[in-house]
Symmetry: C2
Subunit: 352 residues, 2 copies
Amino acid sequence: MNARRLHDLATPALVVDADALDHNLRTIAAALPGPRMRPHVKAHKCSALAARQAAAGHRTFTCATIREAEVLAGAGLGDDILLANEVLDTRRLGTLIDNESARITVAVDSPETVAAAAAGGVPEVVIDVNVGLPRCGCPPDQAGRLADEARSRGLEVRGVMGYEGHVVGLDDRAERVRMTADCMALLLQAHVDVGGDLVSAGGTGTYDINTWANEIQAGSYALMDTAYDRLGLPFRQALTVLATVISTSAQGWAVADCGLKAFGMDHGNPTVVDPAGAAVWFLSDEHITFAAGSHPTTQPGTQPATHPPPAVGDRIRVVPAHVDPTIAYHERMHVVSGDDVLETWPIDMRGW
Amino acid sequence: MNARRLHDLATPALVVDADALDHNLRTIAAALPGPRMRPHVKAHKCSALAARQAAAGHRTFTCATIREAEVLAGAGLGDDILLANEVLDTRRLGTLIDNESARITVAVDSPETVAAAAAGGVPEVVIDVNVGLPRCGCPPDQAGRLADEARSRGLEVRGVMGYEGHVVGLDDRAERVRMTADCMALLLQAHVDVGGDLVSAGGTGTYDINTWANEIQAGSYALMDTAYDRLGLPFRQALTVLATVISTSAQGWAVADCGLKAFGMDHGNPTVVDPAGAAVWFLSDEHITFAAGSHPTTQPGTQPATHPPPAVGDRIRVVPAHVDPTIAYHERMHVVSGDDVLETWPIDMRGW
């Protein structure tokens, strides 16, 4: 199944640049060594990539689904898994804890989720606190009462989490700094009432801003996407979709074989990066229609480059706008260096 | 794995209403009996559903990927598969034709795709003609020449196809009628030059409009989505995503466990249909945040209904805006009648 050369891969194919991935893993490990970083696996859903994150020093993981926790535990990465989400169907987690010796902590934000953790045999929880994103989390001033309720049911309360998800993607860094401070003031207020060791928060866009949390739940930094690339972070774009031009038109467009089933589309169209200067017109289920442009190179001392129009059979490279729902469509990712396929990793945490 | 009651299903789950599906299959079979309808499996990617379409009289199928052709052939549904897309990696198809006794016809629109069909051992082709959608298909006036080239390479040219994809979703039926006529004039002009038995086109939005094509490639009609539901077609919404409310807020929103990895988002947000009157605010990777409204019933003689606010543990039903990229995220669909789960079908044509 592993083609050993990039150009032998069947398309569409998820391709990870080995150097860029290594750079991203090194960069975050330097900034947030060991347990200061709790990588969120929802971004890549790949236990082989999680193993790389563990090898970089992070053996604590964040996940969003029970399936992700199951696969992490099965891959020997179950030292300390935080399911940073509310779940009611906790029996599967309890089974994992019993059978696999995985340590799993689940987020709770209501009496119902506390009761589910207790009933499902998940003995450790964090209190999920709403810090401004209209999603999960209890109001900050109710966190202490919920922690008391959890403890009264015999649960261990490890601390608090509160995700500033409405802040991590803001373009203006000063705004991210200001709003993260506001969010974390709420989380720390709750932490006073809750106690416990963990103050868990943050994402790729606030990994070096959120100094209030004592662990950061970033995920996208490993592979990146065009949405995060806008923010000027020190992470490189590691992920592209490799596709094949299957049709061209004398009227100026070309069509390649990656479409709506190869890209999460909630952040808009993906970007064709090779050939450079291509403009995406639209995507259909299995197609991307784009116009290949020509653009001057900006490297001093070189001539403006023009790109010949795409030909049937050409390979193109496309960067997703949103990494998480893109990867969830694919079965595997290929780690490449230049034209060599070094490894092929199953995306084994897909589904629920 | 098969829970037998709807409320036992782990969420998020794709749920198909058995009655609505049967209605849709009967409706199209009455309008387009037997080979007048060539169901497009890209919409559902499920061989068990394709078997239902075959049982309704349609044993010819349309697909968009090699994987779809492989799974159809393996499921005994390979009588006459049209891969209505350009492919260069034709060896897999040739292997299928040799090993499985599947009959597979592939679309070609260029000398390169003709050469690929010949080299890959795919002896039958249709000439794909561009009828206005900027995607695949040769210009109508070049179709005859391409057919000659295919025949000179020993290929059997079965006819033409040309998809009016820019027309099928238009809200105004009169506009769909007018534009379909224009598109099919181009296709029939090409057919004169190409010859062969097949004039293949159409979709759910033109299934009863496109009387020029002699077979219709509709797919969405079986399960439907909110985009097609706007058009006032006689097909019922058969597909919902079942989700569980995992968090609520005193400020008026609730959160359920279906997000960006459960819905194709290119047509916008999905619609919460139960509870009625709910307004979707936004989706995150594994969450939908919505406000539950109350709305007056429009049924004469009944009292306006008000809906209590959602509670943690409630189940909600959500209709996707675009069926095809929604299903591609899921592993299985559950066919239900009321609260009974009748069957669970693997979505076995996912991937490429």
